[in-house]
Each structure stands twice: as structure tokens, then as C-alpha cells.
Symmetry: C2
């Protein structure tokens, strides 16, 4: 028999495309390309010195724990430390909640979908939203119902209309309330409360994803939606990808124990447990460092980079409309009418500047948009200004 050329894929996966952003990133390995397309945290903010010290300590003091199998729920000292941290910082975590460690936060979106959704069920998400999460939902044959994003969070009226007409098939509502990816928008306190009330009224679970919460560079912190949760309906996704570093792949989920224990069964079949060294590293880092001091340092790096980007946009790209975010890693820019967004991205790439076409973030893959996403955390300040200058020249 000759070499097989065709494989018959499952229905849920057959149509799933690789993340457009990650595909773009692969093409930007050309060192001449200025990438405003990434979603990487600023490497200057990584606490390299303390991590390096702790790595040495772990392999000297407790190597077997770092190398042997662990339980699926995660390293017990880290779980305890996190529960206390979240309680103190956000007033989150009821007696009926549980917390497990995950291999990054993406695994949380994946596991919640796996345990709750049958093919054909609906997940409500912000429109636009983070492509990585949208692809998690899609990978289980779930239908995405997008609710339009406004600069103070999703359109609550549209959400209610959707839930009242359709709520039996909606399994959960996915939201990134702080400095959302891709828009950078933050949900107002009022909308957080309204969202929780609607979820309660229609008896729906909320998946609150908060990867960027520590990256606020102006304005006041707002309470998490999980902190309102008296009914066991909010699943909170946290991560160390921005606070420490993404390459270690450590996240955590805090949610109703019954749900989290099903997610644990799911995780057992995915990767058994998150790597032990990585969990121990995070635990010791939390214990040995002044986290608030680290966050202050991180914020000053991000504040400067955000200002550099917005100043450059104002100077060189006056035709791009955007709402300056109060934190996070992204600026969501609207191209003038009459410019074809996809063509613009291609032209920019040809001029060695990579940006992400806004279509990548739309729940409806056939829809169109005038927006592009720019990232300010990864490029150097110099490259950022240079890249934005080039975009400005293309626009005029």
C-alpha cells in the first residue's frame, strides 16, 4: 500500500485552523521584521535573577520532588499559597471553591469546554476576543455567540437579548474584564455587576480570564467578577505568564469545587500534572519575593512602553483611531474607512512591519473589521517608533 495522503479527522477538528497570530509570528522570525504582532510579555520584566537563584536551590535541596510525578491537582504548598494570595488580594474564594494548578491558563479554557460542552452547544464571548481561547472553544465543536465590545466592556443589553432568546444552549460566558485582548478595553464596575446578575438570572457560568490584571498602568483596580460570586458560578482563570514568565507554563483555576474536580479528571488525561519543577519555582518565588514591589517595577516598564506606542501613534498615525488602554499589552486601532484592512496588513508585512489583522479575533470567522491589533510589550521602544512611522507612511 502506498503512503497515505489523506487522514480522516474528527468533525470538531477538521475545520480548526492554527492561530492566525501564531502563524504570523512564525513568519516574523526574519530578524529584519519589526513585530507589533506578538503577545509576549516584556522580557525586561522577567525576574531572571531570583528565578535563577531559586532553580539552584530547588535542585540542591529537593531534587526528587522536582523530578518525580506529582498529583494532578498540583503542588500542595503552591495551591495553599495561591488560595491565601487570591483571598487577600481580590477577596476571592469561598468554602465551596477549589483551586488547581494548570499548564498555563489556556488549559483552563480547554478543560472547562471539555467538561461542560457537547458539540453544538454555545459559548458566549466578547466580540472581538482572544483567538487562543476562541480556538479552545472551537476545538470542541462549540458555536461561538459574540457580544459586541464597547470601550467599557461588552454590550450588556445585547447580552441579555441573546440570553433571553437562546440561553438553554449557552454553557458559559467568556470574558477578559481587564485590558482585554485584543481591544485593551476594561469592563466598568457597573458592567461587572450587571454581567454577574444576568448570569445569575439565566443560571449560566462565567469564565473570567484575568491574564493582564497586574499590568494596570493608570486608573484604579476594579474588583474581579469572581469576588461577587456567592452562587458558585464564576470560574476564575489566573496565570503566572505575565507576573513571572510565560515560558514556565504555570496557571491556576479557582472555581466551584464540583466543576474544578471534573476539570482535574480532564487534566489527568491531558498532561497528568503540570511540571513539578515549574510549580516549585513559582511557589518559592512567591514566598521569597516582594510581589507588590515586583508588580510596581513591571508596571513602570509597561507604562513607559504604552506611552511610547501611543505617542508615536499620535505623531505618525493621526488617521488611526484608538482608545488608550489603562494597562495590558495591546492597542486596538481602527483604520480609516476606504482602506482595506487585510491589504493594509499585507502591505505592512511587505514593508517589514507585522501587525495582526483584527479578523483573527472575531468569533464569526466570516465577518470583517477595520481594526488591527498592535502590541507594545515585546518590541524595543526604538523598533516600536520605527514600525509605527512606517505604518504612518503607508497610511498617508
Amino acid at each position: 500500500m502506498a503512503v497515505k495522503e489523506k487522514y480522516e479527522f474528527s468533525d470538531k477538528i477538521a475545520g480548526l485552523k492554527p492561530s492566525a497570530v501564531r502563524e504570523i509570528l512564525k513568519s516574523t522570525s526574519d530578524p529584519e521584521v519589526i513585530s507589533l504582532a506578538a503577545g509576549n510579555p516584556a522580557p525586561d520584566a522577567f525576574p531572571v535573577e531570583s528565578i535563577s537563584k531559586i532553580a539552584g536551590d530547588i535542585f540542591r535541596e529537593d531534587p526528587i520532588s522536582a523530578l518525580q510525578y506529582g498529583i494532578t491537582e498540583g503542588y500542595a504548598p503552591l495551591r495553599d499559597e495561591l488560595k491565601t494570595y487570591l483571598k487577600n488580594k481580590y477577596s476571592m474564594g469561598a468554602d465551596s471553591d477549589e483551586l488547581i494548578v494548570t499548564s498555563g491558563a489556556t488549559q483552563i479554557m480547554e478543560l472547562l469546554t471539555k467538561v461542560l460542552c457537547n458539540e453544538g452547544d454555545c459559548v458566549v464571548c466578547e466580540d472581538p476576543s482572544f483567538i487562543g481561547s476562541l480556538n479552545c472553544f472551537r476545538s470542541y465543536g462549540v458555536k461561538l455567540c459574540g457580544v459586541h465590545m464597547e470601550s467599557d466592556g461588552l454590550d450588556v443589553e445585547e447580552l441579555e437579548k441573546m440570553l433571553s432568546s437562546n440561553c438553554r444552549k449557552v454553557k458559559f460566558i467568556y470574558t477578559i474584564p481587564n485590558f482585554q485582548n485584543p481591544t485593551g478595553y476594561t469592563m466598568s464596575l457597573e458592567k461587572r455587576k450587571q454581567l454577574y446578575e444576568l448570569a445569575s438570572k439565566y443560571d449560566i457560568i462565567i469564565l473570567e480570564d484575568n491574564p493582564y490584571g497586574d499590568l494596570r498602568v493608570s486608573g484604579e483596580d476594579l474588583p474581579t467578577i469572581k469576588s461577587f460570586d456567592t452562587e458558585g458560578r464564576v470560574v476564575y482563570a489566573g496565570t503566572f505568564s505575565k507576573l513571572i514568565a510565560p515560558g514556565i507554563r504555570v496557571g491556576y483555576v479557582l472555581g466551584p469545587a464540583a466543576l474544578v474536580s471534573k476539570m482535574t479528571v480532564g487534566k489527568q488525561t491531558e498532561d497528568v500534572h503540570t511540571a513539578m519543577f515549574n510549580q516549585m519555582l513559582v511557589y518559592r518565588w512567591m514566598k521569597e519575593n516582594d510581589i507588590n514591589e515586583h508588580i510596581r517595577r513591571m508596571k513602570s516598564i509597561y507604562r513607559e512602553k504604552l506611552n511610547v506606542m501611543c505617542d508615536a501613534l499620535d505623531e505618525y498615525c493621526p488617521k488611526l483611531e484608538y482608545v488608550k488602554p489603562e494597562g495590558g499589552m495591546f492597542v486596538w486601532c481602527r483604520l480609516p474607512d476606504g482602506i482595506n484592512m487585510i491589504d493594509f496588513c499585507k502591505t505592512a508585512a511587505a514593508h517589514k512591519v507585522a501587525v495582526v489583522p483584527g479578523t483573527a479575533f472575531l468569533p464569526d470567522e466570516t465577518a470583517s473589521t477595520q481594526y488591527i491589533r498592535l502590541n507594545f510589550s515585546t518590541p524595543t521602544n526604538e523598533d516600536m517608533v520605527k514600525g509605527i512611522k512606517i505604518l504612518g507612511e503607508l497610511l498617508s
Copy 2:
């Protein structure tokens, strides 16, 4: 609204139980319990010193690569190194094959099921087989079709009968040819060839899982099934869990590029990529160490432990029947007729010896068996003898 008490789970997950083995292990955290129930590699075999040195080197020489996001396919130098290693060691890997790094080997079983199987499809597996993999398959609503294990590998005639009657719904055949978990049995060369021929005849994919291949303590190495693969139908699952250590969670899959690239899309939605530090650690460890010398050292540890277990079984438990394996980590023991296997396991636990009831490994969860699984890699030699003595007393 009151606290929710019931959550509506997806059909595929609602019935999935946590791994019985891992549940037993949690209960053995009592330090007085002698556990013959684990599946942990011998910690004496972990190359602690070289890993510790390399960890220091990585954080000193290339910390940002270890901490920043990476691509889903894996760390390029590790992928190249592995392709060469597998080519030289096993003559595996055609031009039409691809290799990606995974977060342990379990993720490979999970991803292949995700990309190939719709709910209701069948996966053929050995009966009994590794519960972790069976639960991966079950977590996608797949029907398991077990083929009886013989001491030289699965019953090929039974397999052909099954495929000829049922093959349109069979998506792949799952096998652990070397020192299988739980039986310790190894598939003969003749059966490996027959299995490949049958898969070819019925145009079915083989998932070859080889976690224990390096742990052969007697007899001659046999070629992998993947090494026969001229048609792009074998997916090979490899891992560093036994060669280096399981806590680092690094595995790899070598298979037809079209299949592996779909698995990459699936992996992107699960954990984005395997932790970078962990991949770099494995890469440098492979480059800087004499792997064959390490394997020789590992084998001598496992050889001794296997002999201790079998000698103790012969001396204290003459009523337990078993086939002495040529490697791996497990001995599969048959209780005399008339003894209730589950009751025996419970009595042993009450006497502070943990063993795994054979039912945990049956594809048909309603079936019964007289077998129990004993592990010789994790306990100390002293504990092993003590535990087996207690089992012997309970048997007589």
C-alpha cells in the same frame, strides 16, 4: 439564588472517573503504607547532578529563551536532536514524518484521539492496558474494543476478527509493545509484523506507545513497529519520563506530518507549548551526556529491583502466578481461583500494603479479573520484600 449544587457536564465527561491508580496513590500518602501500587520510575535513576548543572547553565546563559513563549511545535534544537536520535537508534522517521514536543506522552494519546475521533468511534486497545491512556480515549466518548493480551503480545487472530467485522468505525489501534503496562509483556517480532500488516490491510492507524523501551533488563531489543512504517500509518509516542524524569513532563510524537500538524493545532489550544526551560534542559542533557552509559546505569538499577521482587514473590507468594518481564516497571500477578481479587486488595490495604486491582486496566469497566499489578521501580528493596511477605501471609 442559592449556591449551585449541580453542574451539567458534557456527555463525554459525565461518566469519566478519575484514574483508580492515582486515587489509590493519594491514599498511600500515609508513610506507613508500603506502596506496590505506583507507576513512578526509580528516583535513584534520575540524573540529578547533570540536571542541576544544566539548570544553572540555562538560567545563566540563555534565561530569556527559557522564560519567554515558544512555538507550539517545540524547541527547534531539541526537535532536530530527537529526529537524529530516533533515526540512529531505531531507524525511525521518514521524509513524510514530523516530530513535535509534547507535555509528557499522555498528551499524545489525548491529541490523537481529539484529532481523529468523533464520539462513538472505536479505538482498539490491548486488554488489559494502561489506564491513563484508556481514560484519554474515554474522555472523547470513544468506545474501547479490547483485544486479549498474551505473554508475547496481543492476540492477533482476535484482532483480525475484530477488524474484519468492525473496521469502519475503528480509528486507531493502541499498543505498548515493550514491557506493557500493566502486564509487563513484550510483543514478539513476529506479532509486531503481523500487527503492522493487519493495520495496512484494513487501512488503520497504529498508536505505538513506548515509555519503557529503555528499561530492558534481559533479552534482546526488538525493532519498533514504527520502524516498519512505509505507509505513514504509525504514530510513535516517546517520553523522557523514564530516561530522565517524569516531573519535567517532556514527551514527543513522531508520525505522519499531516497528522502531527493537526495534533499541533490541538496542542495550541491545550497548553500553547511545552515549558521552554524543560525542553532546553532535555536538549542540553542529550547533548552533554553519554545516553547509552546512563541507560546502562538505569538498567542495572531496574534489573536488581525486578529480581528482588520476583525472588520475594517466589519465596513468599508461591500461589501468585506471573510471567517474569524482561524490563519495565510492573509484574502482573494472578490470584488463585476462589479468592475475590477486590477483597484481597482491600485486605492488603488494611494491612498497609497498596496494590492495584487489575480491573483498573480493563477496557470494559464492567468486566472482572483475577490479576493485580505490582510495581518494583518505586519502593525500596526492603519495603518491597516486606510488602510481598505481608501479601504472602494474606494468601496462605
